[in-house]
């Protein structure tokens, strides 16, 4: 079971839900109600799950984009590489070839099209991926985009390729997605079995929830369900929307200053309010039902 946790709007509680669900399900793994848990923090621009799970990192390596490197002994400055590049990442000006690494997507088209076989590729590191264990035990992994870098997608892609196990029955893989609805979110959700949307019952929460549902359900064809966080604040909009769209609401977490204060110190809800452990195990059972597993 691969579960993506998304929201559209930022700051609705994706990471809180991901961390608590991971802890609850992994500690129950010996019984029918639990599973082996992997948590991947795919919000590589601002990864925060480690602040709550405090994993011991055991492996890490640099990732990024394979950019062209020109062998000037072979290059005839024909300009074919610049002609095929869709990102203006390589230019040929008289007898010079300029590479603009931050524009390169690493597609390899220049290498394939060079008639002189004069292009090799080298890895340009734009982030790191790392993994280890957190208590639970939770198999933890995260990607971290280097500050000043624009492209989150290559880091997310390589994180998922590295860590997600081939067989995922009796295993829960949680993907903590970034906010928004564009390419990093799609890259995070791709290949999952279901998306849990964490939202808050406010006009901003609802507006962005609709957009996130468009991505997950309408574009990717995935089953979606909703978790309402800070229930009680705001208005009825989210409830009405879920009812009209037939989207199940699997859990409600009330607006509770104790939860917000615990969060501010990096404490999980399960640590602060132990009654939530059972509630997150129940959430997992409901998720499995929605995903048809």
């Amino acid at each position: 079971m691969i579960l993506a946790i998304a929201s559209g709007k930022g700051g609705t509680g994706k990471t809180t839900v991901a961390a608590n669900l991971a802890l609850a399900v992994s500690s129950d793994r010996a019984t029918q109600s639990g599973a082996e848990v992997h948590l991947l923090d795919c919000d590589v621009e601002e990864p925060n799950a480690a602040l709550f799970l405090r994993p011991a990192i055991q492996q890490r390596h640099g990732v990024g984009v394979w950019i062209p490197e020109v062998d000037f002994d072979k290059c005839t400055y024909c300009g074919r590489c610049a002609e095929v590049c869709q990102y203006n990442a390589i230019a040929v000006v008289q007898r010079r070839v300029l590479v603009f690494p931050e524009l390169c997507h690493g597609c390899g088209s220049c290498t394939l099209n060079c008639p002189e076989d004069a292009i090799r590729e080298k890895l340009r590191v734009s982030g790191v991926i790392e993994r280890g264990w957190a208590k639970g035990p939770v198999c933890f992994a995260q990607g971290i985009l280097n500050v000043g870098e624009a492209m989150a997608v290559p880091v997310i892609r390589q994180l998922k390729q590295w860590v997600i196990p081939k067989k995922t029955d009796r295993v829960l893989v949680i993907l903590d997605a970034p906010p928004g609805t564009s390419c990093p979110v799609v890259e995070s959700m791709r290949g999952s079995d279901m998306v849990l949307m964490v939202t808050e019952p406010t006009p901003f929460g609802l507006h962005d929830l609709r957009l996130a549902v468009e991505v997950a359900r309408d574009e990717l064809g995935l089953p979606v369900a909703v978790l309402i966080n800070r229930d009680g604040v705001g208005d009825e909009g989210v409830d009405k929307y879920c009812e009209a769209e037939g989207i199940p609401v699997l859990m409600r977490i009330p607006l509770d200053r104790r939860i917000a204060e615990a969060y501010s110190e990096g404490q999980t809800m399960i640590e602060t309010l132990p009654e939530y452990r059972q509630r997150f195990v129940k959430l997992y059972q409901r998720i499995m039902k929605v995903a048809g597993q």
Binding site: G8, K9, G10, G11, T12, T15, D43, E45, E46, N48, L51, F52, V84, Q86, Y87, H105, G106, C107, G108, S109, L112, N113, L145, V147, G148, E149, A150, M151, A152, P178, P179, G180, T181, S182, C183, P184, V185, V186, R190, T202, P203, F204, H207, D208, L211, E214, V215, D218, E219, L220, V233, G234, D235, A260, E261, Y263, S264, E265, G266
Partner: protein
């Protein structure tokens, strides 16, 4: 004309609330133009209730398409694609539009010339009228790429009008994160206002967004939102900012009036004249001083 961009790194810290309040406060003093640079999940329109004056299509990058009548199912496209975007079939292959990055590698390698590149209608952008001034905003369609390009377009249009109308300030409401759309939102800014909350994630993410604005040599000011949620973390932000020579322009207390104002579609400073509004007024006085430096 000066340009102020509101950023946060972490989502949900109150960027849009602050941007809307500034729009209200500043428009009482001078003429402004507004740009919503969160094109994934544009929320400023929910507060400002704009009247659309002009709507235009945003054409994003190109995507590959396969003409099934020419495809011989040789599999070359799948071999060269590095984005997992080719869907294999018995008689002809297809393209996964959400995975395709438009690199055209398959287009150049296809021996049957069955692949063509097609420009995508990736979103809409708008020029609107609001009670505080003109607003430029956009909607990137679900799952599309090139959000940075759309942010650049929206800002460019806003800037042109601001120069034309001799507006004194362009306020840009930025997206969360530190990647491509954030970098696009930052470009050309005279000052960045970083809205941060006193939580363990807020502190972590502030360091990354401040690293990003410093990387692009943009002066930054910090506004602590929900400042009374955790006094110790607020203190940590203050010490960190002091060590970096970054000025803190205000402490906005946690108050449900912020959510109420959102529900009623009002800028919080126009909705209620309490502690939150007082803090925001004070912050604007300080920002104004810095903008004039």
């Amino acid at each position: 004309m000066k340009q102020l961009v509101v950023l946060s790194g972490k989502g949900g810290t109150g960027k849009t609330t602050v941007a809307a309040a500034l729009a209200h406060l500043v428009s009482q003093e001078t003429s402004i133009v507004l740009a919503d640079a969160d094109v994934d999940a544009a929320n400023l329109e929910l507060v400002l209730n704009p009247t659309k004056l002009k709507e235009q299509q945003f054409m994003g990058g190109k995507l590959a398409r396969i003409d099934a009548s020419l495809c011989t199912a040789c599999g070359t496209c799948a071999e060269v694609c590095r984005f997992d975007a080719v869907i294999a079939g018995d008689e002809s292959y297809g393209i996964d539009e959400l995975a395709c990055e438009g690199c055209a590698s398959c287009f150049y390698q296809c021996p049957a010339e069955a692949i063509y590149m097609e420009e995508q209608h990736a979103g809409q952008w708008y020029r609107s009228k609001t009670r505080y001034g003109p607003l430029f905003h956009a909607h990137l369609f679900a799952g599309q790429e090139n959000s940075g390009k759309l942010v650049t377009l929206v800002k460019h249009q806003a800037r042109l009008l601001a120069l034309d109308a001799d507006a004194r300030l362009l306020i840009v409401d930025g997206p969360p994160g530190i990647g491509c759309p954030v970098i696009a939102a930052c470009a050309g800014a005279d000052l960045a206002l970083l809205v941060v909350e006193p939580t363990i994630s807020g502190v972590h993410d502030l360091k990354r967004i401040l690293g990003t604005t410093e990387h692009f040599a943009i002066r930054s000011l910090v506004l602590i939102n929900k400042a009374d949620l955790n006094a110790r973390r607020a203190q940590e932000i203050e010490s960190f900012c002091a060590s970096r020579g970054t000025v803190i322009v205000g402490h906005v207390p946690f108050d449900v009036v912020v959510t109420e104002a959102m529900v009623y579609g009002q800028a919080v400073t126009a909705y209620c004249d309490g502690l939150v509004s007082h803090a925001l007024r004070l912050a604007w006085e300080r920002i104004k001083g810095r903008l004039e430096e």
